[in-house]
């Protein structure tokens, strides 16, 4: 019976999957490649400005470097917890996988909070996308800095939302809405995070649409695909941290 099925013309009509891997995984890899080029362009734009301007501002003192180092530790550790979650899911230990995903989300949230504190400090010193208080002749510093780090912060935020969908499913929506309200109401109207908090609301709307219109139990492959995205976000920071922060230190 099995031989009959194997030689049926309908079976032969299907090609083996590309690279003998899951199509969802391949799709995420293709997204990561396109996103790499976006970040690559932003990083090269920043680095071009940095090395072609002798008067490039050096705003990052020891406290900034320490904070950015802790943020790097958070992201690297979140990659470890993520990969342990993927391994647990691969072994069928789904509750352990969910716990690792929650740890990853917690570390990612810690990264976002520290990064927001870093931005707030720089904004209070007078940094805007169009001017900076350290080098009036280099107005592009603020623009390149906020675009690059803001784009990355957005990716980390979306990553936390994505992992929440995979780990908690519908239970994640009310938590996300509470986080949105807290972020919106607790930040002053002058802060960019007062408006940036609406990303959480948009995330909650999109996550609700996915979870209610296409409900499913996420499996090991889904966790692995979400892991690919999370590691990519970590990987991008491995370039932003040295090229943006360490290349512009104000340490004597």
């Amino acid at each position: 019976m099995a031989d009959v099925a194997m030689h049926h013309p309908a079976v032969e009509a299907f090609e083996p999957p590309l690279f003998r891997t899951n199509s969802k995984k391949l799709g995420m890899w293709l997204f990561i490649m396109s996103d790499s080029l976006t970040f690559g362009a932003l990083l090269f734009a920043y680095s071009y400005g940095r090395i072609s301007n002798p008067a490039w501002p050096m705003p990052f003192g020891s406290p900034s470097i320490m904070r950015a180092s802790i943020m790097t530790f958070f992201l690297l550790s979140s990659s470890l917890t993520m990969v342990l979650g993927v391994a647990a899911a691969g072994q069928g230990r789904m509750s352990a996988a969910v716990r690792w995903l929650l740890a990853t989300m917690l570390l990612g949230t810690g990264f976002i909070v520290l990064h927001a504190a870093e931005w707030t400090g720089l904004i209070h010193e007078g940094l805007t996308p169009f001017k900076n208080p350290w080098a009036a002749g280099v107005p592009q510093f603020g623009g390149t800095f906020f675009t690059l780090t803001g784009m990355h912060m957005l990716h980390v935020t979306l990553g936390v939302i994505y992992l929440g969908v995979v780990a908690l499913r519908k239970k994640w929506i009310p938590i996300l809405l509470v986080l949105w309200l807290l972020a919106w109401l607790l930040t002053p109207a002058s802060s960019p995070f007062h408006y940036g908090a609406h990303v959480l609301l948009l995330g909650a709307i999109v996550a609700s649409m996915i979870l209610y219109f296409k409900p499913k139990q996420y499996d090991a492959v889904d966790i692995e695909v979400s892991g690919l995205y999370w590691h990519f976000v970590d990987l991008v920071w491995m370039f932003i941290f040295p090229l943006v922060y360490l290349m512009s230190t104000r340490i004597t």
């Binding site: 003998r20 180092s69 342990l84 892991g227 941290f241 040295p242």
Partner: protein
């Protein structure tokens, strides 16, 4: 069927959890080296190349072990990574212009 099913192939090459801790430790050490270099007053172009080199090693570790690329089939590794590296290398053409500006004092 000579190559086995994708699931069987993947299961045969699953990394051990201890390996992830080693990679994490390596990444932390490389980050510590970068932070140390940040405290040295080096010439920007020299600093840029050293930091880029360390970042490339770190990203290779993340892609190979955390993103499991080491355990994918060879054709996937070569096709995806070659395309990405070539595209990113094309962007380095701008660095020559940045170096020209700083060397010749062009404004």
């Amino acid at each position: 069927m000579a190559h086995g099913t994708p699931t069987a192939t993947a299961e045969a090459h699953q990394p051990k959890a201890g390996q992830f801790f080693w990679v994490w430790g390596g990444l932390l050490i490389l980050t510590a080296i970068e932070v140390y270099l940040g405290y040295q007053n080096m010439q920007p172009l020299k600093m840029l190349f050293i930091l880029l080199g360390l970042s490339i090693i770190k990203s290779a570790l993340i892609i190979l072990y955390f993103m499991h690329m080491k355990f994918e089939i060879r054709s996937m590794r070569y096709v995806l990574m070659t395309a990405l590296i070539v595209c990113l290398c094309l962007m380095t053409v701008f660095f020559a212009d940045a170096a020209r500006i700083i060397s010749l004092g062009v404004r």
